[in-house]
């Protein structure tokens, strides 16, 4: 068996909306790499009818897309197999969070990219901040839109580089109005939804902060002598002292579980803490639950695993006791629970849970996660 190639490097161009110039900058850099003598191809490119951007592809080899038919409609997808056999040094892949048409070998484009990276191909790709899984609830609150195509945070963390492509919201709105970004009918729709100025400003801030975070976590791998001096109360200190924090998420059949997992994982990532998730049920085989509840619990545990949060099911009659006992045995410092619902019979049960946990967990902190609903 031949040696596995050295994993390719991934660079993500991060923006906060369509039209900020991610693809343009990516292609610009791709041309520079080609100019420097590297073998560069375009694996997937979405022209969106933007002349400036299209001009940037000139002189770069384009790998033809794969044509797929699904329910009578023709779709075009990136042809990962063709790229693998062409085996360039660098491949440009637009729209990282894209979902492939059903029946494709892999469900997501980011999974296709993993295959390219494993084959030793460097990849340049683009995405917007609203597609980051851990920000899903916050993006809903800011924009009123539930983004479906998301990328787990660990995929972004594995990138060698995240570069912020910045444009001011004012400039973006001007481009939109001039018809640079979308055709008129699509532009109107965009103006009504995502492209409200407050939404754009808020998303931009999230993107800047996320990029700063991505830059910061990569500093740990960089050598430097002597160690850089940072003022007291700044990040590096927190990275060192924050170690040893362990977060445990309590998962139930309730839909709020996904939100609690996302929030806990985000906290863990920012505090350099470990994070895991458990559900507690009287029977480990879940046979005492109805099919819908059973399925929901399984789905939430799998969702946690999808985000690289270790998840398991605990058997126990008394939820609070089992949870706190498990937490204690595993050195947990913080428990994450969903906020009790406002009304209804379940309230009494759930509220008791939060109270019981707080009463029992004298040696750890308990975080009650609030739901983040669309604002306004």
């Amino acid at each position: 068996m031949p040696d596995r190639p050295v994993r390719g490097k991934l660079r993500i161009y991060l923006g906060y909306a369509a039209g900020v110039g991610k693809t343009y900058q990516m292609l610009d850099d791709a041309r520079e790499l080609k100019h420097a003598g590297r073998d560069v191809v375009i694996g997937y490119f979405e022209p969106h009818g933007r002349a400036d951007t299209i001009a940037k592809t000139r002189g770069l080899e384009l790998i033809p897309r794969r044509r797929v038919e699904y329910r009578g409609t023709r779709f075009e997808e990136m042809d990962a197999a063709a790229i693998l056999s062409r085996k360039p040094q660098v491949c440009v892949v637009d729209e990282f969070p894209h979902s492939n048409v059903p029946g494709s070998e892999r469900a997501k484009r980011w999974q296709d990219v993993q295959v390219l990276l494993e084959a030793g191909i460097d990849v340049l790709t683009t995405m917007n901040i609203q597609h980051l899984e851990s920000l899903n609830d916050q993006v809903l609150r800011i924009s009123g839109i539930q983004v479906r195509e998301t990328i787990p945070d660990w995929v972004v963390q594995q990138a060698d580089q995240v570069v912020m492509v910045d444009l001011t919201p004012r400039a973006l709105l001007n481009r939109l109005i001039r018809g640079v970004v979308y055709t008129p009918d699509k532009a109107q729709k965009a103006l009504d939804h995502f492209f409200k100025e407050s939404t754009l400003v808020a998303l931009r801030e999230l993107a800047l902060r996320q990029t700063a975070h991505e830059v910061e976590i990569r500093q740990l791998d960089l050598e430097d002598l002597p160690p850089p001096v940072k003022p007291a109360g700044d990040s590096l200190q927190s990275i060192v002292t924050g170690r040893g924090e362990r977060i445990l998420v309590y998962v139930t059949a309730d839909p709020s579980s996904a939100m609690v997992i996302r929030r806990a994982k985000r906290m863990a990532d920012y505090l350099q803490a470990d994070c895991f998730a458990v559900a507690v049920q009287p029977r480990a085989d879940l046979q005492d639950l109805n099919a819908a509840e059973r399925e929901a619990i399984e789905r939430h545990l799998n969702f946690a695993r999808h985000l690289h949060v270790e998840a398991r099911l605990l058997e126990g009659e008394n939820v609070a006791a089992s949870l706190v006992d498990f937490a204690r045995r595993n050195g947990v410092t913080q428990l994450f629970l969903a906020r009790p619902k406002d009304r209804g019979l379940r309230t009494i049960v759930r509220r008791n849970l939060a109270q019981q946990v707080v009463q029992l967990a004298r040696d750890m902190q308990v975080t009650i996660v609030a739901e983040r609903e669309a604002a306004g």
Binding site: S198, G233, M364
Partner: protein, 363 residues
């Protein structure tokens, strides 16, 4: 808030109306970089070129003496105002530009100091004059020249810069854009060759980059608040983590505040410690409270003394006003019998803290 359907024309009018409101003053746009060679000057002149192509009257007021070929190529396509040379130093000719009165003036190297005897001691004050005269200015600056960041940057680069621009001037900009490129690209691109020096290790470039991104995020956060205020939108998007630690004399304040500090640092967010005034504190409690507040001060927290009969309501009002995303509160394990029936303070806080996480600390 009902969703408003706006046509592009309406939006344009809206933007226009806002522009008219501050019509007399020119607009300031700043390209912010983390090191030389990131391409600030190129972004600036390229924007000038595009505006020129769209028919705006654009001139270059000042450009760095040594520019890359890419920048030079764009500069050649634009009108360049002649500079005055004083003591061998090029100085922007403000009176000439004011007479020429372009719509847009490009000013490279915002932090330059003018030689003694100049109209203004520094270039950014020249820019203020242009703005006051209704000329839009597009400019570029490197973070090491921002007065409030100078010391931090100096620790990384080992270089002291003399001329700086106050942070408040950048906060007053209408638009600020961060020019972000991978560090190895700016290493090869730098026209001055400064980056070949060992002082610019990859680690340091990375830290400079982080400072620039966070500075831009803070400016954007400030703009977001202003925008929400201007439109009387009382909402918080939680884009910046803001942690509120509620202390009492009896609280386990040290753990709570230190934990808050770590969380705030991890997110580069804000830490606020609040105390809701209670009547008739014993001397012992007064002393304990003072100790707790001094722990807050040591941890660099903002301290707020709140007043209100209803403790939880007071905390929640404050939290909403300030866009708090996480409330830290202590929980006493011994309850009086009536608290068990009515539900404790903490239960009420959890119930009513819509959109805000509550972290409970055992005492």
């Amino acid at each position: 808030m009902t969703p408003q359907r706006r046509t592009p024309e309406e939006l344009l009018r809206l933007v226009q109306a806002e522009e008219d409101a501050r019509k007399d003053r020119g607009k300031l746009k700043v390209f912010l970089g983390y090191a030389s060679g990131v391409g600030k000057s190129f972004r600036m002149v390229d924007e000038g070129r595009r505006r020129r192509e769209r028919g705006e009257d654009v001139i270059i007021g000042a450009i760095q003496p040594a520019t890359s070929p890419e920048v030079q190529a764009v500069v050649e396509r634009l009108e360049v105002a002649p500079v005055r040379v004083m003591d061998g130093v090029p100085v922007m000719d403000v009176p000439a530009i004011l007479r020429r009165k372009p719509r847009v003036c490009l000013v490279d190297g915002l932090a330059y100091d003018n030689p003694p005897g100049s109209r203004n001691p520094s270039r950014w004050k020249d820019v203020v004059e242009l703005l006051d005269a209704g000329i839009d200015v597009i400019t570029s600056i490197n973070i090491q020249y921002i007065a409030e960041l100078r010391e931090r940057v100096e620790q990384l680069t080992g270089k002291r810069v003399e001329s700086t621009v106050p942070q408040s001037f950048l906060y007053s900009a209408d638009e600020i854009v961060v020019v972000d490129v991978p560090p190895e690209m700016c290493m090869t691109r730098s026209p001055h060759g400064e980056l070949d020096e060992a002082s610019y290790a990859a680690r340091r470039l990375s830290e400079l980059r982080e400072i620039a991104l966070l500075f831009a995020a803070d400016v954007v956060d400030h703009q977001l608040e202003q925008y929400l205020e201007r439109n009387s939108l009382a909402q918080s998007f939680g884009t910046q983590e803001r942690i509120l630690v509620c202390v009492t004399p009896r609280a386990n304040a040290k753990t709570m505040i230190e934990s808050g500090r770590r969380s705030a640092d991890g997110f580069h967010g804000e830490l606020i410690v609040a105390y809701v005034k209670q009547h008739r504190l014993s001397a012992e409690d007064e002393a304990a409270l003072e100790r707790n507040l001094s722990i807050a001060r040591e941890n660099g927290a903002q301290i707020e003394i709140l007043e209100g009969e209803d403790t939880i309501g007071t905390i929640l009002n404050f939290a909403r006003e300030r866009g708090i995303t996480q409330i830290f509160i202590g929980h006493t394990l011994q309850h009086k019998w009536w608290q068990r029936l009515a539900g404790s303070h903490v239960d009420r806080l959890i119930e009513q803290a819509h959109g805000i996480d509550v972290r409970i600390f055992p005492h």
